[in-house]
């Protein structure tokens, strides 16, 4: 699965020259979780990340290209950590997930459904994170994620390391997930406009997969995400082979189709 590979590379380029704090995944350092969504009210809140006039982005990229990943799960923090932040701040959470490269029988085009389901399951983790004192508001429609951090959580010295570990633990519950790289951004030195553009592209990829998955009747000539659908369909052919030709053999992708489609490097 290489749909997001070029995107992962482009996003990483946005952080060139900025040194992050790095943490390796440690299951024992997860933040305590609530059993259900916890609403943190303004009166209990220390500050909000990514809300009001502050920038916010949420982006999840999935790949089976092991070369893009270290052999360890890791948490990267660009900017101040939770206890260092004093007031409202811009915020982005980027998740890169390495999945198994065995979507089953390659001769079966219906494995596209499996791919769709895997991406969906990974993306939907964000709707089920109930970390204590760290209330996540997330919009899949707008690729936004905002966070309210409670005063009590700060007293308990909550950090992105704790939150990141909780996320990774949850992602790793999925048997298809091999590695996770989670990036928290609170610095204004990163180009949020470009990040947002990448997040929008990720949404378009999901929409395209959804259309193909659901077989929705679409007037392709006027569809705004036709390029992405073509690309995903192209990937299916490349990945699973051409059904029409009776050739289901996997073909090597020389250059990312996303790069080709958008003319980006």
């Amino acid at each position: 699965m290489k749909i997001y590979d070029a995107q992962i590379e482009r996003v990483r380029e946005l952080f060139n020259g900025i040194i992050p704090k790095k943490y390796e995944y440690c299951k024992g350092k997860c933040r305590e979780e609530n059993t259900q969504y916890e609403m943190i009210f303004q009166s209990d809140m220390a500050y909000e990340l990514g809300a009001n006039k502050e920038r916010a982005v949420n982006l999840t990229c999935v790949s089976s290209n092991a070369q893009l990943f270290n052999d360890k799960d890791e948490i990267l923090v660009y900017g101040d950590d939770l206890c260092e932040i004093l007031d409202a701040s811009s915020y982005a959470r980027i998740t890169e997930v390495l999945v198994k490269d065995d979507l089953g029988d390659d001769s079966n085009p219906s494995n596209m459904d499996k791919l769709y389901k895997i991406i969906q399951d990974i993306d939907f983790v964000k709707y089920h994170m109930y970390t204590k004192g760290f209330m996540i508001r997330t919009s899949g429609q707008s690729c936004l994620e905002q966070v309210r951090v409670s005063k009590n959580a700060l007293k308990e010295k909550v950090s992105f390391e704790h939150i990141g570990n909780s996320f990774i633990k949850r992602y790793r519950d999925n048997p298809n997930v091999l590695h996770v790289r989670i990036i928290f951004v609170t610095t204004a030195n990163v180009d949020f406009d470009k990040l947002k553009k990448e997040a929008d592209t990720a949404i378009d990829i999901r929409r395209s997969l959804s259309m193909i998955h659901n077989g929705l009747p679409t007037e392709c000539g006027s569809c705004e995400i036709k390029d992405i659908c073509d690309e995903v369909e192209g990937l299916r052919e490349l990945h699973f082979g051409s059904k029409e030709n009776g050739d289901y053999s996997k073909k090597k992708i020389e250059k990312s189709p996303i790069t080709q489609a958008f003319g980006r490097t």
């Binding site: 259900q36 969504y37 916890e38 609403m39 009210f41 303004q42 009166s43 969906q120 939907f124 964000k126 709707y127 508001r137 997330t138 919009s139 899949g140 429609q141 707008s142 936004l144 905002q146 949404i203 929409r207 959804s210 259309m211 995400i225």
Partner: protein, 252 residues
């Protein structure tokens, strides 16, 4: 588990005033409690009574979420629920005493079913996060009929001293007995101009928790643009609302 208090009755009997009084009284009695006031009346009066400014309503966010889902973005159930969770804060007005949510008024003519159905889901969802949810219901029986108030735990049926008002209360009670999972249901007779008629006020099958005389102080307060929080402690409407809440004993 939140106590969900709703007020229903004929239009013009003072539901909104009593609702705002309940919010004030509960806030004073339980200063640490999380209280949510929901203006479920398209007439939109509760915000004025409580002194909050509404920028977005439930109907606004409902339409935006549906528009985006129609364009193909995020229309799985979990995504839609996530969007509601996300957007609800845009419509939620938070003060140091309570939070406030307005159902809003759909633009143009047409039926109100969609927003009522949405309101029901929102009540289910947000009530977990609050200790008290106080709902100023739409006049009449529509929201009871449509099970919007299904999860209400404490139902107050409000009437004036008119036969018509009492008839509406009886009708609502009958339907509520079938469609609302309430623990307690009582009536409040409000805006009584002539207290000499009190012995003659009877509502068959429903206990009257409080009879409140017409409150000139409140009328003055209202016309001067003041909120319920600026009303004196012993104003008849506050005293009557306190008595109605006390009628539920320790359960509120």
């Amino acid at each position: 588990m939140a106590k969900i208090i709703a007020l229903a009755g004929k239009g013009g009997v003072g539901k909104t005033t009593l609702c705002s009084a309940f919010v004030r009284i509960l806030g004073e009695k339980y200063p640490k409690a999380k209280i949510l006031a929901i203006d479920a009346d398209p007439a939109v009066g509760l915000s004025t009574a409580l002194g909050v400014t509404v920028n977005q309503t439930l109907d606004d966010i409902r339409r935006e979420i549906i528009d985006k889902a129609a364009s193909g973005a995020g229309k799985e159930a979990v995504e839609l629920l996530g969007e509601v969770r996300f957007r609800i804060f845009d419509a939620l007005v938070e003060t140091d005493k309570f939070a406030f949510l307005a159902i809003g008024r759909p633009e143009g003519a047409g039926c109100y079913c969609a927003v009522n159905a949405y309101l029901k889901e929102v009540i289910d969802m947000v009530s977990r996060d609050f200790d008290y949810v106080v709902i100023d219901g739409e006049a009449g029986i529509e929201q009871i009929n449509r099970r919007v108030m299904e999860k209400v735990t404490h139902l107050f049926l409000v009437t004036d001293a008119s036969r018509k008002g009492i008839k509406v209360v009886k009708t609502i009670r009958k339907v509520a007995d079938e469609l609302v999972m309430y623990e307690k249901c009582v009536a409040i007779v409000n805006r009584v101009e002539d207290m000499s008629i009190v012995p003659f006020i009877k509502i068959e099958g429903t206990d009257i928790a409080s009879i409140i005389e017409s409150d000139s102080e409140h009328a003055h307060n209202d016309i001067m643009g003041k909120t319920i929080f600026e009303l004196s402690e012993d104003a008849p409407v506050l005293a009557g609302a306190r008595k109605a809440l006390d009628s539920f004993g320790g359960c509120l």
